[in-house]
Symmetry: C2
Subunit: 768 residues, 2 copies
Amino acid sequence: MSLGKNVTRIDAYEKVTGRAKYTADMLDKKMLCAKVLHSTFACGQVLSIDTSAAKALEGIVKIVTCFDVPDINFPTAGHPWSTDPAHQDIADRKLLNTRVRYYGDDIAAVIAQDEIAAERALKLIKVEYQEEKPVLNCEDALNAAKNGAPPLHERFADNVLAHTEIAEDKAFNEATSGTDLIKFEAVYETPPVQHCHIENCLSAAWMENGRLVVLSSTQIPHILRRIVAQALGLPWGKVRVIKPCVGGGFGNKQDALYEPLNAFLSMCIGGRPVKLELSREEVFRNTRVRHGEKITLCGWARPDGRLVARSYKVYSNQGAYASHGHSVTMKGTSVFKQLYHDEKAIKTSAWTIYTNTAVGGAMRGYGTPQAIFAIESHIEDMALKLGIDPIEFRLKNIMPVGYEDPFAKTKLRFDAFGQCIAQCKDYIKWDEKRARYAGQTGSIRRGVGMALFWYNTGVWPISLEISSCRMVLNEDGSVQTQLGETEIGQGADTVFAQMTASTLGLRFEDVHIISTQDTDTTPFGSGAYASRQSYVGGMAVHKTALILKDKILEAAEGYTKLPKETLDIKESQIVLKSGSNKSIVSLEELVTWQLYKMDGTGHITAEASVKASSNAYSFGCSFAEVEVDIPLAKTRLLNIVNAHDCGALLNPRLAEAQVHGGMSMAIGFGLSERLIYDEKTGRLLNGNLLDYKISTILDHPRLEARFVECFEPTSPYGSKALGEPPTVSGAAAIRNAVLNATGVAVNTLPLCPQNLFSAFKAAGLYKK
Amino acid sequence: MSLGKNVTRIDAYEKVTGRAKYTADMLDKKMLCAKVLHSTFACGQVLSIDTSAAKALEGIVKIVTCFDVPDINFPTAGHPWSTDPAHQDIADRKLLNTRVRYYGDDIAAVIAQDEIAAERALKLIKVEYQEEKPVLNCEDALNAAKNGAPPLHERFADNVLAHTEIAEDKAFNEATSGTDLIKFEAVYETPPVQHCHIENCLSAAWMENGRLVVLSSTQIPHILRRIVAQALGLPWGKVRVIKPCVGGGFGNKQDALYEPLNAFLSMCIGGRPVKLELSREEVFRNTRVRHGEKITLCGWARPDGRLVARSYKVYSNQGAYASHGHSVTMKGTSVFKQLYHDEKAIKTSAWTIYTNTAVGGAMRGYGTPQAIFAIESHIEDMALKLGIDPIEFRLKNIMPVGYEDPFAKTKLRFDAFGQCIAQCKDYIKWDEKRARYAGQTGSIRRGVGMALFWYNTGVWPISLEISSCRMVLNEDGSVQTQLGETEIGQGADTVFAQMTASTLGLRFEDVHIISTQDTDTTPFGSGAYASRQSYVGGMAVHKTALILKDKILEAAEGYTKLPKETLDIKESQIVLKSGSNKSIVSLEELVTWQLYKMDGTGHITAEASVKASSNAYSFGCSFAEVEVDIPLAKTRLLNIVNAHDCGALLNPRLAEAQVHGGMSMAIGFGLSERLIYDEKTGRLLNGNLLDYKISTILDHPRLEARFVECFEPTSPYGSKALGEPPTVSGAAAIRNAVLNATGVAVNTLPLCPQNLFSAFKAAGLYKK
């Protein structure tokens, strides 16, 4: 049984030796090269484009401008489709747009023999345009619209993509009317940040037999197929998407990026192969970002520390186009509602607002890191105000064991929070350090802080959860497992192989995973997002493996003349179910006999599709220890530990790797990362890996990952979300550690020297 | 309904524009290059190989000799495996062999950075060997063994690969004892010829995740996977074979050629990608040929033209290794047994004999063109001797309507022979010309001749007939159809698409065929051979489509609330079965609804595997008109027509193309093609396309194809063999036309000037 063991990633050798085939490895040298002309202003209208000089260059095959593209607005978000128009993503962009909505918007594209010719041509294209004043934050966008400025999108006259108010006013007013209540309100801000996956976004497209083929580094091949077809106005079956190895996505590749344009460009030249590779700078500027959010939180508590009411108001900066839009914002409100147990007296007000900045999309955590930063900072601040130990305050109000989400029926079954907290307290020596760090006065001070979170597994019941699997049995008893779910670096394929081996009774090495998705033949799956794959994909693997096992045992009945109900498969051998594990016949001999005998059924395969109708809570926390140099306004992270209840561990080493990666992102979000836009023009100022500071191994202390294994009964293998949760609570824990060290509540991320300096200064730390 | 219509080949555009991807198009520029060192003697032993000078060359990665390969004998024939050892193909070769068995045998291989380095290295390898006298024909091989010479293969001391005698002596002796019988005996000889597919044989191999991947231009991906694994001693699931577009095979690629060696070479260097491309000269010398055969026929007839007994003795020159071996020889005897109705009094003696010449393998017709040349020449000669019109003589003795093969239960249900003959007689104006050409005396004379044949469809009950299919339904109601059966240029994919559309009720353009086979994911099929694909593959398509249709109608029941039994699919619309074809809902709307609703089943696909347990006779004939220039010993083909009963025509235009191609091969076989070996050394003298004369469009008159559509009830779409039959009877028809023109029975193919001159001279045509 490989499940639960530290088997080595099945792609380890290929990836370490550089043999694994990524999109770039599959680009033909003879492919034409496309480059996009980006606007050099953030807001306005393209009046005309003169491509004559560019066209005259040698090596230019075709130039397409925003005046040449189909008049089709399409959505880009990587959600499964819905036939309910109210549930469909906003279709607010064309392939190229005459209305410019952010600095760098796509207004033309060049197809050339090579990159150099394409780059030269871009420089010769003359654009005549009418510029308008850009709006770069939510308040400005709302005000500008109120004052009659043209909105970003005609359909959204007030620049509000969506606005949702949830409140039970009567209960809320009653709860907050008590005169002994302590009320605390504060505003928390998080900046837009970028995913910084190692592999840039790229694709290639060509036509075969009258159909479009798109090769792309994507997390969502089947969804991308639909979006490309929608953008081009084609029947969906006329598009085929192929996904090779992917070098990270973190949600950025859970969107249709330049694939629809790439496909269109190929169509414009009779289906010749065209590649479209983004530079790192384009990835920063022109793909997606984590939404910058401004969250106002208010809480009311009794003096004994019992929360009676809370309100949450968020302005989420959508940027220029809808992408995942309001879904991300609403995910934050849902986290807010359930983490603490006061849901009868809560208010949420969620605003997703168009601005002339980079497009907010999906990013690992999907709105939760922003929300948890605000919620867990606010709860810490309240504890401080109430004079109650912050962990005690949390546990008094936390979602109680036995709690069931009234909508999704998701249930907290174990004391997951308590167990996670206990692990981290122990690791970081919480009680000892809280005592030791009390009352520091020097210029260098230390502190410890923590933050909690919960997370969903997949998107049901908000959206469709579908996953499908196919297994093909070989003559030697080995199996190919094929899913629509995608390996993007996280180790999914290894875990699917472990699941297959476990349910079928095969040796692990006898499972071969088909890592490349090809929508023509791959069973339908929605892809890598929402921490869904091992859960929903696991259901598909489980169901398929049971079908295959039954077929194998039926063949074994024919071979052994024993009733199949008495037979089982262990270590790739047919054995008696009740009895020793002595082999009656090897799977290899059985399958070879079965396939090659002249009569009977033919080859053995199995395929199954699952629509999930459950969800599972994933829980956890981060504890951090910091050293703050007050004169330098600098924070050094000394210690950090995450504890996760992600259900049963399918592969502890891979789980740990997931947590490490997420913690690293959380550290960057907490301490250093932010996209900086020129306040006047909206131009991105630090869109490259020199000026944008991601957290690297040099910035990290040991990243300690702890697990609490509460087997999840709705999950065939007992697992639940772990992909995104590790990113969620780290920044808040660091912020609370800084608060512990300095007494200063820093409410704006990241905790970089600039922000710390402002906060420390405002708090009077620099007064003589 | 596209079935039966002249829809354009689905791959026409891609192939005409050069976009279709063949193996060579998929070779990475960075791949290493392998070349094989071939022996420069035909028979003997390699004593030692000195590679030191070759290894010292720049760019040489590895050199492997016959002393380095696994000690595993493996079979190469592209037959489905059998678990019955008696039914398995002969395993008589290693990857490289120390015993040299033909001029050009493989004794070492070089892996280099590029072809030039590899070629240079080959020249520097020094081989020490002990040469023996080669045996180049069957009689010599038998005699040499009798005289104590070392046999080609130790296991076969008499050089006889196999020998089968079939005779019911009592019946035979009784039948031939009549004193009024006319007896006629003659010997007919056919030379070895080569397939001459446009695309040379080539492959590439590398390792991924500890498994071998082989990319090959092959007709038989699933069988090739098994053979590569056997040759390397690997579990079969550790090998993956990918087959892209194939530029013709004609049976040569129904064999494992250099793929096992190629795979081994990659394994020797840690799985790095290595390509192995044969030159045209290597294809001629080192792949496979049509067996040269020497057939002695004897017939006994009553004066009224009733045949009472026949005997058939064949020496089939196997060449150096077994390949398809005795199967090809035996196919000829089975054709002999059933074509004329005297099976109670027949004798067959079939010898397949190893010689030091090129390896006989599968070639379009699989032994039948040789046998039919002999049988139909002999029957013509007997008619002449009996003084009976040759067609009348044939029809008097032909397999009668209602005849059933006692073994396979295949049945002649209609007067197929009569109808085919009638069509051809009419086209070629037989009666008129037979009359006109009687009694010519000039030096340029004309004649008409004809020949009949029958052919099986697939290999059941001799071997396993298995085919599998999978269909994947897209949201727009279009379908991908995936089979293990291979398109190698013949149009199979187009016909499979027509079948899919027909059974599912789809528009033809809504069927997308997966043309590339990949043994990891492609349903198991045995591939393109034995004229089996539209028959057995058709069964798989039919079964799968019915399953898919049922699932679609089940979804339609959910959507329409009408019982599924009342519903049908027409032109991609759901309609009432009994009623007008008015659309209730489009398939597109139905499938999109079904897939994206939150509950219910997931994606819709279907997969099915079929083991056939039937066979079907295919029938036909060729009629030819020639002009013979006796002084120049030259034959000009003036007219040729083939008529075929291949059951229902699935695509008349593609059927016609099959016939045209087969007729062209038959003309080459009849008039110009033969491989010539040096009589002393066994070296192939004309192994290139300049010196080996294939028949081209410049040599052809109009190739007239006629059809008799006798719907085949055992076939889901009414079709039966057409792939190979067109090659079978043309050469005999031409030979009989020459006989008609000149009165000379030329019994050795081809009817090239050299052979005609000998025959004419022997017949006294050149006497003054």
